[in-house]
């Protein structure tokens, strides 16, 4: 793994009797879009929780950009360039779209023990924030309060916030969750643009999107990685077919 940006080795997490992550191995190469798929309860969310730092693994190590980040707190990982989005939209409802993104910029613009100058008047924060909004197609909604925006726009904003922190890698937890066909298509388009400049780890249920976007796919079943390879390899893998019996059609027909 000469150019692995993110390496996960032997990651294990138990919740009581349930082994949510069972000796998970994962290598995400710099520049690739790596998707993680798996049936419900496969431990995808637990995995992303551990990668983001919200869940402490029982065993195993996580390396990011050559550094061991297993013990690094959530905010420290973000500051290293590992940004994430949430499966269930997680934003700042009291603020405008621009404020939301500006906060993400601010987090990465030095410490915030600046008690005097009005933050909303700082171009240093506002301009990158506007740029990030433009990227996700929300430039015209900058001053809209979140309450009056649609779910699809919230999903775009999730992504905009992650981008505003100028990450080297994105952890996307089901970015298509709850989107209609049009909105999904837009999200796929945005992600396709992003994958040119960023390393992305994508967790997603929408198989169509996964097979359209991913360079490599890792399959997680009962907390274990059962296969890892290109979309074509994954499609041909008998173990994967086995695990996805119910969803076989989705895998084979794309």
């Amino acid at each position: 793994m000469a150019d692995a940006l993110l390496t996960v080795d032997g990651l294990t997490k138990r919740f009581g009797g349930v082994v949510a992550s069972d000796n998970v191995r994962l290598d995400v190469t710099r520049g690739e879009l790596h998707a993680i798929i798996g049936p419900n309860g496969a431990g995808k969310t637990t995995l992303i929780g551990q990668l983001a730092g919200e869940i402490v693994p029982d065993a195993g190590r996580i390396h990011f950009g050559g550094q061991d980040i297993t013990a690094l707190p959530v905010h420290g990982r973000s500051l290293m360039g590992l940004a994430r989005t949430f499966q269930i939209t997680s934003l700042f409802p009291h603020f405008t779209a621009l404020d939301n993104v500006a906060l993400a910029v601010q987090a990465h613009a030095g410490h915030s023990f600046r008690l005097w100058r009005p933050a909303r008047a700082e171009n240093e924060l506002q301009e990158p924030a506007r740029a990030a909004l433009e990227r996700v197609g929300l430039g015209h909604r900058a001053n809209t309060m979140l309450g009056s925006m649609s779910h699809g726009e919230h999903r775009q904003l999730e992504l905009g916030m992650a981008l505003a922190s100028k990450p080297s890698m994105l952890l996307l937890d089901e970015p298509m969750a709850g989107l209609g066909p049009d909105e999904s298509a837009r999200m796929v388009k945005t992600l396709r643009e992003l994958k040119r400049e960023l390393t992305i780890l994508l967790i997603e249920h929408d198989m169509e999107a996964v097979f359209a976007l991913a360079d490599r796919i890792t399959v997680l079943v009962y907390g274990r990685t059962i296969a890892s390879g290109t979309p074509a390899e994954i499609r041909a893998n008998p173990d994967v077919r086995q695990a996805y019996l119910g969803e076989q059609q989705a895998v084979t027909h794309v």
């Binding site: 940004a83 997680s90 409802p93 906060l103 987090a107 915030s112 100058r117 505003a164």
Partner: protein, 330 residues
């Protein structure tokens, strides 16, 4: 900023009235009114500081009166020991409050929701019982402060008008400082943490240290208000920091409006004026109805105040301030 909304008109009117009140009181000799409003200014300052953490930071502290007590006792104890200089008393009041806030905050901010409320309450009650145990300083009965804090010459706190204006100036400075703070990067971080702490950490904010700093700033301001309060009443006893006092501060913030920096000042005025006015109104009403004033009717003023608070909480989420600001939107 300077739009002519009903809300801004009210704030401007209040400020002018507050600024001119001593003139009226001196002319009419109504020193009760001046004393009441000195108290309003001081508790308004405490409520503004509480609202910094509660309204903007989402940290509902149910022990904010502890800082009033600490600030007050710092002045009282030093005065009793013969140190009357305000240059010593006030910095001590502020410093001890800050240290106490640091300790309480460092522990309580590791919890959330109801636990946070209960821990802040527990710490405040602890200080309350410590004060009761201070036999040398009056214990339960409290301590009379024979001399107000001494500063350089024109700033003579024994002069009611000068003391009033000092409180007024400090309240204005507090409102301005908090206003700057809330809109700064620090303030955005604090408000973000109230709104969604988890997301704040995910985008790279170490929220704990910002919240703790905010908690200490609020405690420090309230400690100064405590020093003022002790000077105002020339007396200090443990009830200054009983938990109901913390509740009063919360009510002021909620009543006035937690969404703005000035809201709690409106709340302090409303609550304390109602406390004085309602008994008189009830007395008057009973006289109208029965022809003579009913014995003890005045004591039931809280029966009116309670439902009023309830209505505000139920139907005007932004408090009095929010109620007035609303038409500007439509």
């Amino acid at each position: 900023m300077a739009q002519l909304t009903p809300r801004n008109v009210l704030v401007a009117t209040l400020l002018v009235l507050l600024a001119l009140l001593p003139v009226y009181c001196t002319v009419t000799g109504n020193y009760f009114l001046m004393s009441l409003f000195t108290r309003i200014l001081i508790l308004g300052m405490a409520a503004v500081s509480l609202n910094l953490i509660m309204g903007f930071g989402g940290m509902v502290s149910f022990g904010h009166a502890a800082y009033l007590g600490i600030g007050g006792y710092a002045v009282g104890i030093l005065a009793k020991e013969g140190i009357n200089s305000g240059f010593i008393q006030w910095p001590v009041a502020v410093l001890v409050s800050a240290l106490f806030a640091l300790g309480v905050g460092a522990l309580s901010l590791r919890t959330r929701g109801v636990y946070f409320i209960m821990i802040t309450l527990a710490f405040a009650q602890m200080v309350y019982y410590v004060a009761i145990g201070l036999d040398r300083y009056g214990g339960d009965d409290g301590l009379t402060i024979h001399k107000r804090s001494e500063f350089f010459n024109p700033l003579n706190l024994s002069n009611r008008t000068i003391f009033y204006y000092l409180c007024f100036a400090l309240l204005m400075v507090t409102v301005y400082l908090v206003w700057r703070l809330v809109h700064s990067r620090f303030g955005m971080a604090i408000q973000g943490a109230r709104s969604n702490d988890r997301r704040m950490r995910a985008i790279g904010f170490p929220t704990y240290r910002y919240k703790l700093t905010c908690f200490v700033i609020a405690g420090t301001i309230c400690g100064l208000a405590g020093a003022l309060l002790a000077n105002h009443t020339s007396f200090i006893n443990p009830s200054i920091m009983f938990w109901t006092r913390s509740g009063d501060l919360i009510v002021m913030a909620v009543l006035g409006g937690m969404g703005t920096v000035f809201g709690p000042v409106i709340g302090a005025i409303a609550l304390l004026v109602l406390e004085e006015a309602l008994p008189i109104l009830i007395g008057g009403a009973s006289q109208l109805v029965t022809g003579h004033e009913v014995q003890g009717a005045r004591e039931y003023w809280q029966l009116i105040l309670g439902p009023m608070l309830l209505l505000i909480v139920l139907f005007a989420r932004g408090g009095i301030d929010g109620l007035l600001a609303r038409p500007s939107r439509g």
